[in-house]
């Protein structure tokens, strides 16, 4: 009786479908990716069960970090350019084209207006290392109020969102809310993290 020949199987796999799948995923992620935005400040937001989503456009984000510094950001390059022009006119500072362009690419910033020009003139690498003092919010020098007002005049559709750090004292947030109310903004959003709602209460 002849020996039964065990057919030797080729141990290699056909990887073609796997590659297909992988490239499909790569394409998907590449197309959906919006690179994580570079923030001037790290803010650890508290969590809430709210499911509302913040829109992508026409948003003013006022970030308050744990050292009570206030940062201002608004979406839209055109809005930012127009906004800077208005602020420049109001405060008697002038920005050249390069600085305006830099400003329109900034996500958010926390510089008083008198220091803004030198901040924008810096090369982007050293701009990251600047310790931004935050936008003045005291009643004598209420620049935040002007930023908000001018943004709303530039783009009336803007929604205002406050992004506060969990540990920031309420006093600062209260001041920000006061400024908003002074500018007749009575509806705004608080940016929060996701949290699962309790099932039984």
């Amino acid at each position: 009786m002849p020996k039964v020949k065990v057919k030797r199987k080729n141990p290699s796999l056909d990887m073609t479908p796997m590659v297909d799948l992988f490239f499909l995923l790569v394409t998907f992620f590449m197309l959906t990716a919006t690179a994580r935005e570079e923030e001037a400040v790290v803010v650890d937001t508290p969590s809430s069960i709210s499911q509302l989503q913040l829109p992508d456009t026409n948003v003013i984000t006022i970030a308050v970090d744990k050292d009570d510094r206030v940062f201002f950001g608004v979406t839209g390059q055109q809005t930012k350019e127009a906004l800077l022009n208005k602020i420049a006119g109001k405060y008697g500072v002038s920005f050249n084209e390069e600085e305006t362009r830099t400003f329109s690419l900034l996500n958010n910033f926390g510089m008083p207006i008198n220091q803004l020009k030198s901040f924008l003139a810096m090369p982007s690498s050293s701009r990251k290392n600047v310790n931004q003092p935050g936008i003045p919010i005291d009643s004598v020098n209420n620049e935040l109020g002007d930023w908000v007002l001018q943004t709303r005049l530039t783009n009336p559709k803007v929604v205002i969102a406050i992004k506060g750090d969990s540990d920031v004292s309420y006093e600062t947030v209260q001041r920000v809310i006061q400024i908003l109310q002074d500018k007749k903004v009575n509806r705004f959003n608080l940016i929060t993290d996701m949290e699962v709602a309790p099932k039984n209460i």
């Binding site: 796999l13 796997m18 809430s48 913040l54 004292s169 309420y170 608080l190 309790p198």
Partner: protein
């Protein structure tokens, strides 16, 4: 590498054939690369937009007279104190009435139980006033608004703390 050349025949008296090179391409490095790219894009993608909670502040009245006074029986005040402490009392906090200030906390058995208790739930007109003290954290306020949302309390307002309330808390703490 992954391909192991299999010997085509056992060589039993067969003709010597020209060595046929395999047409299969080794795909492993390709897969490696693709997986690396997937990982990169997955990590840099911000999938979900930030969550928000919307709050509406009461419009500042032009003249005080037009405001309708809140009845004491329909009012409840929650004071957010420092170090994550929380106090509440019913009524408007008139010192003459000497309202009973009760301490509670942010846990599921704390203020949430109070907000679903019949005193609050069965009274449709019950208005909850949140008064965060200056020393309280921002998180406290968000947590409180969240509790109100969880318990489905419709009428609430974020109010600035008064000296009255501070005194009430002081006397409560002094006990």
């Amino acid at each position: 590498m992954a391909e192991i050349q299999e010997k085509g025949d056992s060589g039993k008296g067969g003709k010597k054939r020209g060595k046929k090179s395999s047409t299969k391409v080794d795909m492993t490095p390709l897969v490696d690369l693709a997986a690396l790219l997937i990982t990169f894009f997955m990590l840099t993608t911000t999938f979900n937009k930030p969550q928000t909670m919307e709050i509406n502040m009461p419009v500042k009245p032009d003249n005080e007279e037009e405001q309708i006074a809140l009845k004491a029986s329909n009012a409840m005040t929650i004071i957010l104190g420092e170090k994550d402490r929380l106090f509440y009392y019913y009524g408007l906090g008139d010192p003459a009435e000497n309202p009973e200030v009760i301490e509670s906390d942010y846990s599921a058995n704390g203020i949430r139980k109070v907000l679903v208790s019949p005193t609050v739930k069965s009274n449709d007109k019950m208005t909850v006033m949140i008064k965060p003290m200056e020393q309280s954290r921002y998180k406290n306020m968000v947590d409180m608004l969240d509790e109100l949302k969880i318990t489905g309390t419709k009428k609430f307002a974020l109010v600035e703390i008064t000296d009255n309330d501070k005194q009430l808390v002081q006397s409560k703490l002094g006990q």
